[in-house]
Symmetry: none
Subunit: 206 residues, 4 copies
DNA sequence: GATGAATGAGCTTTCATTCAT
DNA sequence: TATGAATGAAAGCTCATTCAT
């Protein structure tokens, strides 16, 4: 059996095991068994548990960002792009729960080589959202364009809200990807709209 | 040294170790060392690694919800309550990064006895926010009051956004708890305001 | 509470725990708890686990040999003495199962300081039986008296058979001490009787 | 080195260690050392200390019963079968003192998973002896055949006596298996002979 | 006379990793 | 390309034992 195929089988088994058991609790034995190969072969192809986990994170991160970008076509208006991106995100996470668990839970929880990997992916998504917000600001002829830090914070909040809703949608029966995306839009777009118009909530002086 | 004091020392050490290393990677040896006691004493007082971790989660969850509730005084108008609750939340998480890591990352990542513990706490906070939204709807004389599922989704999104911002604020130098709270309010309040007035973003057909 | 009384309570607890759990599996914690005292007191009175176990063995050995000797009055004819000794033996072991477990199982199984203690007791009983056999030989005017080694072997066999029957009687409902003793007499006395008369089973050559 | 061979080496080491130290006092470290392998290999092949001990018991029980049955050929008259069985028994126990210690002392002393294993083997031997006694009764044209419970008790006593003599023969220099068997026959056969003829020792009315 | 507080040492078990083939 | 055989290192947990009071 060709190496590339075997490797994908191993990564499949690893994502499933890491996603369900966690990085430390997953054993190379179990992964090799699930992949239907012997342990030395896993080491031959993927070097070490650390490298294997990193490979899982990379593959799943790639798949997720690809899905989101594929949803949001550059030509559309900003709100439509956001809407499509969110739908793609919720759909992908619902269909790849183990991959999502690896990215959202496991990779961030197990320290440095891995957290960085996820930060990179997350930064990419946050950058995508940020740019969307700036496009929207331009579309609304907002002048001057909003402060960078403010936009960064909003993008973070938006992504965090989406992540949280993904978990909620997965756990709550009867909530579809589309509904989750609609909730996100309702929640976020108005707040962003206010930003466009330069209004903001007035913090009390306390 | 009296038992109660020692127990708190142990919990301090455990929260720090679990927060930084994760549940599996943290060793009882390291925790005992950090607490300045021998391992058997940790077992004598706290029974097992599992029980110790659970005790950490409970203590930190209690502290966090107490802080949030102490911030939001029931007499105030809803937006003010939300604002104060958010400030308390960001302040607490900034001051207890290890405790926050235990609750937000570790406890959710390491399976069933622990995840349930955090779900309980999170449900409490989500319920608190939900009720705040409903109060706001009443204050705005919204009629009929919004659908339960819709409110639940928004509360989830709001809490998720706040969790995400907490991590961002901790990691980004120069972002204060107050600023994080302001970002949250800007992000969320207008969206909620739209909800109050019955408006919503129109999802495209497809 | 006077020391002597406390000590007996501790020995009671220890015999029970050692008898049921075994020497290694019994923990000083459990013994102290069962005795209703704190662990340091057990050490103050009985020094160490080894000494405590030895004290248990001695007390139970003493009680058992005393019971057997009390049954067999020196004045009676030899068969009657044997009969009474056996009855006393089966009665005592049935009434003190934990003590009997300590002597018969635990003490012999856990190596040298302890096995010697039981060998001493057993030697005493074997000597008693041996002497009984010799008395019987004299009563039967057997001349010359039987070889020492032969008698020793028979006594060993008799004691072993009795020990085995004790376990069987304890485990089989409806078998009384008296019935066990009768079985022993039927089994043993005739064999001994043959010995008295100088007859023996002819081993085939080969 | 092939697995089957290694496993036997491990069992050899384990029988020796368990026989001399006892189940609890024997450490897996010592067993692995004595077998000339590392500890993980012992676990890989034999699972756990409990399983290892059980495997020892089973192997030794099998070997002992096989030896006894191989000695007593079904065609012979009952007394001759008994004689040969006893010789085989004493020979085997003398040649495998550690295995005999495992069966006779350790397995019975350390509680339930193990004691049952030995009870099974012992029941098999007692059944064999019982059947021998019944055959003898038939050979002697005894009518009616003796009561079941009586025979069971006698078989228990006989086996117990043999077990005890085995220990004695092992501990007393200069006592051969043949001599031990002769002592047993002298002790037991006459008693059984009385049984055959319906005679019994008359218990005093107390 | 009695105990709460504390520990050094040791145990069973698991796991990532590597040879030799 | 693929694996059966093997291990160093470490982790969770328990226990007999001792102070200080």
């Amino acid at each position: 059996m060709p190496r590339a195929v075997r490797e994908q089988q191993m990564l499949d088994a690893a994502v499933r095991t890491f996603g369900q058991r966690g990085y430390r609790a997953a054993s190379m034995d179990e992964i090799a068994d699930l992949a239907g190969v012997s342990k030395p072969l896993v080491y031959l192809y993927l070097n070490s548990k650390e490298d294997l986990f990193t490979a899982c994170i990379r593959r799943e991160a790639q798949a997720l960002t690809a899905a989101v970008r594929a949803g949001a076509h550059p030509g559309l208006p900003a709100d439509r792009q956001l809407w499509e991106g969110l739908r793609a995100f919720f759909t992908h996470t619902a269909q790849n729960p183990d991959g999502w668990a690896v990215l959202h839970l496991q990779a961030r929880t197990h320290g440095e080589p891995f957290a960085a990997e996820v930060r990179t992916m997350r930064a990419e998504i946050v950058a995508f959202v940020t740019q969307l917000i700036l496009v929207a600001a331009r579309e609304a002829h907002r002048d001057p364009s909003p402060a960078e830090r403010e936009v960064a914070g909003l993008a973070e909040a938006l992504v965090g809200a989406a992540e949280s809703l993904a978990a909620w949608a997965n756990a709550t029966p009867g909530v579809s990807a589309k509904q989750a995306a609609a909730t996100m839009m309702n929640f976020a777009w108005a707040g962003l709209g206010n930003l466009m118009e330069g209004r903001s909530w007035a913090a009390p002086k306390s």
